[in-house]
Point group: C2
Chain length 173, copies 2
């Protein structure tokens, strides 16, 4: 299938926002999505953006059943390992179901790897859900290591009231 | 104990580098540390830094047995959730063993939470090792959620040859 991977523009945020919801539905947590396309525009296309994004686009003649031509995205940002240095973190990788099996997911993923390498990143990291064996198998087949299994890393989060409480404990300057 | 939390300066990178190694020894992976203080200076104190860092400092009269006054650090950066928005990620939190039990770790952690809140971050995330129950208990006591346990998130990594292979698969523009 003919498709193109390109950097997302501000104008793509409505499409990205639509696919963020699609992905959350797939991950069985659609009620968790609180982000609007206006917030994506602000956070991703400001002077010091919080993320970068690639989109996959098909020509008009291959548009989706619902009429979309932007049919996949990869949203990522840069992180840092105090052991190894620069890294890139892939927050979301998504291709609309009717376009899967055409190498679009691999193209998005490998493009993020290439962009990371150009920035001297030595790692590409991401998170997957335990039950999501198609994704876990996809990454494993490409050589990724599951650090939760091999090294026992757990993801820990503060949010809501717990985060507020913590911030309120901060020593005053 | 009298101590001060302040933003790290470029000149602190030697101290930070020393404590990065201390922490890796505690985490039983000292051979994993490949980062020099020169790289920290470059990656953290350039125009678009890959991380920010706080240090904890004690007065000269309370210096460590080996003569150090910079005795703890918290290294963090900003990430992004496509469900919730801006987030802060705490890569490392460390206090030298002889200074523990004085609230310095909590002060560093809560300061990062406060800085994150000021940037409209709605989450503070971090990773801990499965066997590291003192740390897991420390964060749980402060209200953090273990996402690996509650939601089944796994950390996945590409690096070395696997990352190179992936990058080489990227579609050419």
């Amino acid at each position: 299938m003919n498709f193109k991977i390109r950097c997302a523009a501000k104008e793509d945020c409505k499409d990205i926002s639509r696919m963020i919801m699609d992905l959350a539905i797939y991950e069985k947590m659609p009620d968790q999505v609180k982000i609007s396309h206006e917030e994506l525009e602000c956070d991703g296309f400001c002077q010091n953006p919080f993320f970068e994004c690639l989109v996959a686009e098909v020509p008009e003649e291959h548009k989706s059943n619902e009429g979309f031509t932007v049919i996949g995205y990869a949203l990522y940002f840069y992180t840092y390992s105090t052991w190894k240095g620069r890294a890139v973190y892939l927050e979301d990788l998504y291709v609309m179901s009717e376009f899967r099996g055409n190498g679009i997911g691999t193209a998005l993923l490998s493009k993020v790897a290439e962009i990371g390498k150009k920035k001297q990143c030595v790692r590409l990291q991401l998170s997957v859900l335990n039950w999501n064996t198609p994704s876990r198998d996809f990454y494993a087949a490409k050589g990724a290591q599951d650090l939760t299994v091999t090294e026992g890393w757990h993801a820990i989060r503060f949010d809501g009231q717990n985060l507020d409480n913590l911030a309120n404990e901060a020593p005053k300057d």
